[in-house]
């Protein structure tokens, strides 16, 4: 029933109305048929009964003489007259006086009671069944009134001398009934069919304008333009059509205006993007020259004063570059030009590297820095490494900038995890100057800083946090701040990631080799960092603030396994020489010391296996331990060094300044360098000489880097496989993608540092 109703609701108006009318006609027809049939049948029955009574009365009248005379012949004559009526089956004439049946024709119907004793007062239906009626009538002799009766005041004399019975069959009645029903049905059916066709035509004609209007609306909804409903019909319909047409006029007019506005906006956006791209390239190119040259000069022998000037110039240049980058980034984000990637990255390592980078830049401040990573949180996630680093850099940079003493730590906590996704909370916590409560709401507004004094004291454009907020939002996350003046600030990111469920096999390997960790640290932050390291490796640990108490712990020696001793922050480490000797003699110990190279020196290098610069980085320690156990680390370094001298690099760069900068960096790093002015020259040189790697500028005359790369990849097999690293001032994701699409292997944005260059080159050596 529900399905039928649903089908009905979804049918067209014409069909619905037709169906409703058909149902109405059917109901009316059936009602009329039934009613009329019943009525006609009732009339037929009534008539048949009246006829029966009339026949019986007539027989009674005609039988009076026969009963008076007692004449069977006379009775027979009367009966024969009655037998001419259809349906008369049995007739009998009863003599009241003689108390017998004077004459009878036909058989008595069994089942119909015979009441021969009583004589009715008038003609009645004495009995009936489904097939017969039995009527009976008295035979009364009436002495009718004449003059003498009037005079005597007497009523007519009635004498009952007998009765007659007539049995009449209902066959004819049944035939009549069937005829009535069949006739009614036939007429009904005919009327129904006729009505159906007539109504259908009328309904179709009446509802056609609706269909036309509906079609026009549907087509308009699909986007067709210029459609108007042109219908004739009822006034309401024509009004609807007129209103629809007017509405379409307005809509199309508005649409045209919107299209024009959209096109104008798109054009403006395109011009803006173009401007941003051009400006980015135009600014970066000379900046590359400036910073590159400063970098080269810095490697020369300079006086302290000169080094100081260079440092200031470099810093200013970097600041200018970061300022430009920030403005351009903000602009791109505002116009929606930035897209975040999803590439597998080691989040822990990324955070530790950034901490290392900033700590190396600020080792003199003696700020404690560490990364604490929730052991339940996965290392490998899918994310935009560049943008994440941008955010992390900004936040750590700010934390360090506003913290003179104490610590700057990063805490990663797992908030939520399911099959494919995790939500991580990454908190950048410092013990700096803090942020006032009134300023917190404006913290992420562009170009805003707490007050003028902050700007004077700490500098900055006020774009960094605005960019961070937008980037985090693009990643689907949130950023918030909790801060107290003179206590410190927590910058809290909450970001969802898809994660890669990789087992940390290397940690398991360490567990096979190492039995226990003994941690020595006087500093609370470092203590936590070391304990976190032990946890990351899945190792049990014991902490002490002094190496002197080591023996008190009576740690068990396990054969075939090492004791890992991690020492932090011991100023006068020489005091513990005997303890260290004890360790060496008693246990198979690996002793690693974390130190600040600016404030501390490497000490007791014969007893300590190796030193690591702070902050504590579990990933680096892990790599170093693995190298210790499974590779010869020292041999590896020398191998790297010899490779540099043999490597021949083709530098494809049209700008003379950039040529000089890059060549100088490469030569200082120990590489052989050959220069091509454009892509065509590069191709020609490659055809005749062999190179190990090509550094390719993208924007060049004659043949740009993209075309040159494609041409190189088309060369014979050996030459085509040369690693090609892009050098480009166009740092957008699209530009980077384009580089990889044409066949380049890596990307170094301009301006680049020596370290960046070397790091990228090392990667390709490692790969080869």
């Amino acid at each position: 029933m529900k399905k039928l109703l649903q089908k009905f609701d979804s049918a067209s108006l014409s069909r619905q109305v037709t169906l409703l009318f058909i149902m109405a006609i059917i109901v009316v027809s059936i009602s009329l048929t039934v009613g009329l049939s019943a009525l006609n049948t009732h009339i037929a029955v009534d008539r048949a009964m009246k006829e029966g009574i009339s026949i019986t009365e007539a027989l009674a009248n005609n039988s009076s003489l026969s009963l008076l005379l007692g004449s069977k012949k006379s009775a027979q004559e009367a009966v024969e007259a009655v037998l001419t009526f259809p349906g008369v089956v049995q007739v009998s004439v009863h003599d009241y006086t003689a108390k017998n049946i004077l004459y009878q024709y036909g058989e008595v119907e069994p089942g119909l009671e015979q009441n021969d004793k009583n004589i009715p007062e008038k003609s009645i239906l004495e009995n009936e069944n489904s097939d017969y009626w039995q009527f009976t009538a008295p035979v009364i002799i009436v002495s009718e009134p004449s003059e003498e009766f009037i005079l005597e005041g007497e009523e007519p004399l009635l004498q009952v001398i007998g009765k007659v019975k007539v049995l009449i069959s209902k066959d004819e009645l049944k035939t009549i009934k069937n005829t009535i029903i069949f006739g009614s049905l036939s007429i009904t059916a005919f009327v129904f069919v006729l009505s159906f066709f007539v109504l259908r035509r009328i309904i179709h004609k009446t509802t056609r304008p609706f269909a036309v209007l509906s079609e026009a609306m549907l087509n308009s909804g699909k986007g067709m333009v210029g459609l108007r409903a042109n219908i004739k019909g009822a006034r309401e319909l024509t009004n609807i059509a007129k209103t629809f047409n007017d509405m379409m006029d307005v809509l199309e007019k508005n649409e045209n205006e919107l299209i024009k506005a959209r096109d104008a906006a798109l054009e403006a956006s395109r011009l803006k993007s173009e401007f941003v791209a051009n400006i980015s390239h135009e600014i970066r190119t000379p900046m590359n020259g400036i910073l590159g040259m400063l970098s080269l000069i810095d490697h020369n022998k300079l006086s302290k004063e000169e080094k100081g000037y260079i440092a200031i110039a470099k810093e200013s240049g970097n600041l200018l570059l970061s300022l430009i980058d920030g403005i351009l980034d903000f602009s791109k984000i505002s116009v929606g030009k930035i897209e975040v990637e999803k590439i597998e990255l080691n989040l822990k390592q990324t955070l530790e590297n950034i901490i290392v980078l900033h700590s190396n830049n600020d080792l003199s401040s003696n700020l404690e820095m560490a990364c604490f990573y929730d052991p339940d949180a996965p290392f490998f996630v899918l994310g935009d490494s560049v943008r994440l680093q941008q955010v992390f850099n900004n936040l750590i940079g700010n934390a360090i900038k506003f913290t003179k003493q104490g610590s700057v730590n990063v805490f990663v906590k797992l908030l939520e995890k399911n099959d494919k996704k995790v939500t991580l909370e990454i908190k950048f916590s410092d013990t700096g100057v803090g942020i006032s409560e009134e300023f917190i709401p404006k913290l992420f507004d562009a170009y805003s800083q707490q007050d003028g004094s902050i700007k004077r004291r700490f500098g900055g454009t006020g774009l960094g946090l605005a960019i961070c907020e937008k980037l985090v939002k693009l990643m689907g996350g949130t950023i918030r701040v909790e801060s107290q003046i003179s206590v410190g600030t927590d910058m809290i990111l909450t970001i969802p990631f898809e994660y890669v469920d990789k087992l940390n096999d290397q940690a398991l390997l360490l567990c096979e080799k190492i039995n226990h960790c003994f941690l020595v640290s006087t500093d609370g932050v470092c203590k936590s960092a070391l304990m976190d390291v032990a946890k990351q490796f899945g190792l049990s640990s014991t902490w002490s603030d002094s190496l002197l108490t080591f023996r008190e712990y009576k740690l068990q020696k396990t054969s075939g396994k090492y004791l890992l001793v991690l020492i932090n922050g011991i100023e006068d480490v020489d005091k513990y020489e005997s303890e260290l000797k004890y360790l060496r003699e008693t246990y198979d110990a690996i002793i690693v010391r974390f130190f600040n190279p600016v404030l501390e020196k490497k000490r007791l290098t014969n007893l300590i296996d190796w030193h690591m610069t702070k902050p504590v980085r579990s990933t680096q320690l892990e790599q170093d331990l693995l190298s210790y156990f499974f590779k010869n680390g020292k041999a590896k370094k020398s191998k790297e060094q010899s490779l540099h001298e043999e490597c021949k690099i083709l530098l494809v760069e049209d700008n003379p300044v950039n040529q000089k900068v890059a060549k100088a960096m490469l030569v200082k790093a120990g590489y052989q360098v050959d220069i091509a002015m454009n892509g065509q020259q590069a191709l020609d040189k490659l055809k005749i000489s062999d190179y190990d790697l090509a550094l390719m500028d993208c924007q060049m005359p004659v043949m740009d880097g993209y075309v040159a790369t494609q041409a190189i990849r088309a060369l014979p097999e050996k030459k085509s496989k040369i690693p090609i690293i892009a050098l480009s001032a166009n740092v957008s994701a699209e530009d980077q993608s384009k580089c990889f699409e044409v066949g380049m292997n890596g990307f170094i944005p301009k301006p680049f540092t020596k370290k960046q260059l070397e790091s990228e080159l090392k990667k390709w050596y490692k790969a080869s």
């Binding site: 007692g70 006086t97 002495s143 009718e144 004449s146 003059e147 005079l151 005597e152 005041g153």
Partner: protein, 324 residues
């Protein structure tokens, strides 16, 4: 002078006294010599039956010295109301037409002579009835007319319930002796008996000299069955049939006689005068002799009867209607 006055007045006074004395003993005579107050009671009926009483009353009124006060007896009337009427009128005699009129004065004693008329039967319950004129045509008059039409007739058959018509049969039988005519009475107590007797009679009757008389007896005759049977046989067999019922003549009976109501009224009026004069009633129960006659010419022609024109003129009604 005084002596002369006495001589003249005294005899006159004596005669007046004497006559008064005589009158006091013969109030009837004195009364008769004025208009006698007669109350006539008759049942309230509709036309054409009302005509019977109206004509009879006219007949009564036409008789001199009778002051007729007629009262129709309505449905609402009862013995008491009629009694009040009669008491108020103080009639010398009462004429009661029909049994209903008689029932209204039954049980009351008015000490005046009562004549019962226009009734089929004799009302024996009232002692003061001095004469009954039954509304039954005198058969003798019918038979006398029969003799003129059908001279060969010797026997008249009649089927009748004797107990109802004993007085009439006796009267008829007595009178018929002198007419060379015999009456054969067939008794029937019901229509069925009557029907069977008629059937047999119609088979056996000798048409040459016998005829059939249909009396006013609803116990033995009915219009719907027996009359048609009789008429059919009579027609087929040319049986002479006469009837005391006018409607039978219309149906095909040869002839019949019916009351002349006016003359009946006159007769009753005259009789009343005689009764009031002190004459004795000789025939306390008598059939109606004030009659008219009707004949069916079609039947006459069918039966081949020869009736002289002057004889035909005596018939008051001729059937079929329009026949002259």
């Amino acid at each position: 002078m005084q002596f002369t006055y006495k001589l003249v007045c005294y005899p006159i006074a004596f005669h007046v006294l004497f006559l008064s004395f005589l009158l006091s003993f013969s109030s009837k005579v004195i009364a008769f010599e004025g208009n006698a107050n007669i109350v006539v009671l008759y049942p309230e009926v509709k036309e054409p039956y009302l005509k019977i009483f109206n004509e009879a009353i006219k007949g009564l009124e036409s008789v001199s010295n009778l002051s007729v006060r007629a009262k129709s007896i309505k449905k609402k009337d009862n013995v008491r109301s009629i009694h009040r009427f009669i008491t108020k009128e103080k009639p010398k005699a009462i004429v009661a037409f029909g049994r209903r009129s008689l029932s209204m004065i039954q049980g009351m004693s008015y000490s005046v002579p009562i004549i019962s008329a226009a009734s089929l039967s004799v009302f024996k319950e009232i002692d003061d009835i001095v004469m009954t004129v039954a509304y039954v045509p005198d058969p003798i008059i019918m038979f006398e007319l029969l003799k003129k039409i059908f001279p060969e007739v010797r026997k008249v058959h009649v089927v009748i319930k004797k107990s109802n018509w004993d007085w009439l049969l006796k009267y008829t039988a007595d009178k018929m002796r002198s007419m060379s005519l015999s009456l054969e009475v067939h008794e029937a107590n019901s229509l069925q008996e009557s029907a069977r007797i008629y059937r047999k009679l119609l088979k056996e009757i000798k048409v040459e000299n016998e005829c059939l008389w249909l009396p006013q007896d609803r116990k033995t005759i009915d219009k719907k069955n027996i009359i048609p049977m009789i008429l059919k046989s009579a027609w087929n067999k040319e049986i002479v049939v006469l009837s005391s019922n006018l409607s039978h003549v219309d149906k095909g009976v040869l002839f019949g006689m019916y009351p002349d109501n006016y003359k009946m009224g006159v007769y009753i009026g005259n009789k009343l005068k005689k009764i009031l004069s002190g004459n004795e009633v000789i025939e306390p129960v008598q059939p109606l002799r004030q009659l008219k006659s009707a004949i069916n010419f079609r039947t006459v022609k069918h039966m081949g009867l020869e009736i002289k024109p002057h004889e035909l003129e005596i018939f008051d009604l001729k059937f079929p209607k329009g026949t002259r």
